[in-house]
C-alpha cells in the first residue's frame, strides 16, 4: 500500500478503556465508514498490553500509555491529503476529542516495506494452506532512532538486527507470520498545521514502526524473545528507553480481504 497514517492515542481523562474502545469502534469507526472520503482501508488496533522503555530505566522517558493505534491507508499522497484536509472539515476530524487526549497523539505518515518471514503459515491447523501472513495478535513496535545515527543506516541496521534476532530467537522464528517495516515518510515533516490543531507540543518523532503478526495472544512470548535479541544486536541504532511496543487486537473498520 503506497502510504498510510498511523495514529497512536491514549484515552481522554474520565474514560475507562472499555468506554474508549466502544467510542473508537462504534462511533468514530462508523463516522469513517459513513464519510469514507478517499480511504482505501482503515484498521483500528486496540491495545491489550505493552511495554515502554526498558528494565534499565529508573523512570519512564515518554508518555507510557497508549490505548489504540489507528491505521488509515490511501492509494496516493493526494488522496491522503484530500481526506485529512477536505474543503469542509470532516466529522472524523472533529470527533477525536471525544475519546482521545489529542495533544499526546503520535502521528506517523508511513510507507510499508514487507520483510519476508520464515514461517508465514502455522504448522498447527494450517487449513488449506492458501491463507498466509495473518494472525490474531498484532504487535506494533515503535523504534526511536538513536540521535547519532543517520536514517539510512538506522533502517539498514534494523534489518541486520532483525535477521540477527530471528536467528537468536527460535520461538519467534517459528511463530512470526508476517513482518512489515513502516518507514516514516519525510512529507510527515510538514505537519505543523495538524500539530497546531491538536495543540501537540514537540511530539516524539518515530522514523519507523515495525508490525508483527502472530497466531494468537498465546504467542506473545515469541515477540518478547525476539525483542530481547533485537536489543542485544551489537550495532547501536535505537534509543530503547524511548521505544515501546503494543500487543493489539485488530478491528477492521474498512478493509477488503487482502490477497495473501
Amino acid at each position: 500500500m503506497p502510504i498510510k497514517l498511523m495514529a497512536a492515542s491514549r484515552r481522554r481523562p474520565g474514560l475507562t478503556r472499555a468506554e474508549y474502545f466502544r467510542y473508537l469502534e462504534y462511533y468514530h469507526g462508523t463516522i469513517a465508514r459513513q464519510e469514507r472520503l478517499k480511504i482505501r482501508s482503515y484498521v483500528q488496533n486496540h491495545v491489550i498490553d505493552g511495554a515502554f522503555g526498558v528494565l534499565e530505566d529508573e523512570y519512564h522517558q515518554q508518555v507510557a500509555d497508549r490505548d489504540a493505534v489507528v491505521e488509515i491507508q490511501f492509494d496516493t499522497f493526494p488522496d491522503m491529503i484530500a481526506t485529512l484536509e477536505p474543503a469542509t472539515p470532516s466529522a472524523a476530524s472533529q470527533d477525536g476529542k471525544f475519546f482521545a487526549e489529542e495533544r499526546n497523539n503520535i502521528i506517523v505518515m508511513a510507507e510499508e516495506e514487507e520483510v519476508p518471514v520464515p514461517s508465514p503459515l502455522p504448522a498447527f491447523n494450517p487449513g488449506l494452506g492458501i491463507v498466509t501472513g495473518v494472525g490474531a495478535l498484532k504487535v506494533l513496535l515503535y523504534v526511536m532512532r538513536a540521535d547519532d545515527v543517520y536514517r539510512e543506516d538506522y533502517y539498514q541496521y534494523f534489518r541486520e538486527a532483525h535477521d540477527h534476532a530471528l536467528q537468536q530467537a527460535p520461538y519467534a522464528r517459528e511463530q512470526l507470520r508476517r513482518c512489515v517495516m513502516n518507514k516514516r515518510c519525510r512529507a510527515n515533516d510538514n505537519d505543523a498545521a495538524a500539530r497546531k490543531h491538536f495543540k501537540m507540543v514537540d511530539p516524539p518523532v518515530y522514523d519507523m514502526i515495525v508490525t508483527h503478526w502472530y497466531d494468537t495472544l498465546e504467542q506473545a512470548g515469541a515477540f518478547r524473545q525476539y525483542y530481547e535479541a533485537l536489543r542485544r544486536f551489537p550495532k547501536s541504532f535505537a534509543n530503547w528507553s524511548k521505544s515501546f511496543y503494543l500487543y493489539t487486537r485488530q478491528v477492521p473498520i474498512i478493509r477488503d480481504t487482502p490477497v495473501s
Binding site: 503506497p2 502510504i3 496516493t76 499522497f77 493526494p78 491529503i81 484530500a82 484536509e85 510507507e111 540521535d147 547519532d148 545515527v149 543517520y150 536514517r151 539510512e152 543506516d153 539498514q156 515518510c185 519525510r186 512529507a187 515533516d189 510538514n190 505543523a192 500539530r195
Partner: protein, 296 residues
C-alpha cells in the same frame, strides 16, 4: 587506518548541528587549506554563458515539458521539446531542464566525481564555492564509497548525500538519495551508447537550514543523464520538484491545489546552470590531478 576521508565522519546529531555554521560559508580551515585540492576553492568562478542563463529568465511552455513518467524519452535519439527551461507543470510540480556540452569531460570523470566529492566538505565546496556549503555521508555510505570492490559507476547506488547548499532560496539541507538507473525507472534495454553514457540521480528532500515549524520539507526527483556528443559529452539535467518515489514509481507529493513556488523552480534552474558551468571547466583538470582513486 584513519585518513582525511574517514576523519571527516560526524555522527548525525553533530553533523546536523554543524550545518548552521557551515551555511555561513566560513573560510576553509588551516587543515583544509593543506588538502591537495584546496587551490580550486580560491579560483575565479566562470560566469555562465549569458544567452544560456537568460533562457532561465522566464518559464517555458508547460505543454512542451515532460513529467517523470516520461523519463525514458531521454533515451530517444535527438532532442526533446525543452532541453533548457523551467516551468510549473499543470499539476503544480516544478519542472527543470538544462543541457550542457563539455568538450573535455568523459563519462568516467563523471562517475569519479560523483563518488569522490561527498567524502569531505571542501570537495563539495570547490565545485561551486558561492553556494555550496558542506556535505556529509553516513558511516555506511562512506564505507561503500571507499570500498574498492564497488565499481565507480555503482558507488552511489543507495547512498545518501547530505548536502548544504543555496539554490537561490536560502541555505537548505538536502538529503539526496542516489539510485541505480534501473531503480530510477529507466528502460535498461536501451541503457547503452549512443543513448546514454552514464547517469547520476535519485530523489531528495530539502528543508531550510534555519528550519522553523512553518518550514516545508520538499521532495524532488533529480536526473543527470549523459550521452556522447559531437563536441564531447552532453549532460541533460531534469528536476521534477514536488515528486517522490512511491513503491518504485514517481508520485506527486503536493497537496491538491498547491504548486511548487516559482522562485524555488527558477532558483534551482539558475543554480544548475551556474554550478555546471563551473563543473565542466574544472572537472577535467582535477580529474587529471586526483582522479586515480577516492583517497588523496
Amino acid at each position: 587506518m584513519t585518513t582525511a576521508e574517514t576523519n571527516a565522519q560526524l555522527a548525525f546529531r553533530d553533523w546536523y548541528a554543524s550545518t548552521k555554521p557551515k551555511a555561513l560559508r566560513p573560510d576553509p580551515s588551516p587543515e583544509e587549506r593543506q588538502r591537495p585540492f584546496a587551490k580550486y576553492y580560491f579560483e575565479d568562478i566562470p560566469p555562465p554563458d549569458p544567452a544560456h542563463y537568460a533562457m532561465m529568465d522566464k518559464p517555458c511552455d508547460p505543454s512542451k515539458a515532460i513529467g517523470p513518467e516520461r523519463m525514458n524519452d531521454l533515451l530517444k535519439p535527438g532532442d526533446l521539446d525543452v532541453e533548457i527551461g523551467w516551468c510549473n507543470l499543470p499539476n503544480g510540480a516544478g519542472f527543470i531542464a538544462n543541457r550542457m556540452v563539455y568538450p573535455e569531460v568523459t563519462a568516467e570523470m563523471v562517475d569519479w566525481w560523483f563518488a569522490w566529492h561527498p567524502l569531505e566538505d571542501l570537495r563539495y565546496r570547490i565545485w561551486y564555492p558561492p553556494q555550496h556549503a558542506g556535505i556529509m555521508l553516513s558511516p555506511e555510505g562512506r564505507k561503500r564509497i571507499l570500498d574498492p570492490k564497488v565499481p565507480l559507476q555503482e558507488k552511489n547506488w543507495g547512498v545518501v548525500h547530505h548536502v548544504t547548499e543555496d539554490c537561490n532560496c536560502g541555505m537548505e539541507n538536502i538529503d539526496i538519495h542516489f539510485m541505480s538507473p534501473k531503480d530510477f525507472g529507466f528502460d535498461m534495454s536501451r541503457w547503452k551508447e549512443p543513448y546514454v553514457s552514464t547517469f547520476a540521480g535519485g530523489y531528495g528532500w530539502a528543508v531550510a537550514v534555519e528550519k522553523t515549524d512553518a518550514s516545508i520539507t520538499a521532495p524532488a526527483l533529480m536526473c543527470h543523464i549523459f550521452r556522447p556528443h559531437a563536441k564531447g559529452l552532453e549532460h541533460r539535467t531534469r528536476f521534477w520538484m514536488g515528486y517522490r518515489f512511491s513503491q518504485g514509481k514517481p508520485e506527486l507529493t503536493l497537496p491538491p491545489g498547491v504548486s511548487v513556488p516559482v522562485a524555488a523552480v527558477q532558483g534551482l534552474a539558475r543554480h544548475n546552470v551556474c554550478e555546471f558551468t563551473r563543473w565542466g571547466r574544472f572537472l577535467p583538470r582535477i580529474y587529471k590531478e586526483l582522479g586515480h582513486g577516492m583517497l588523496c
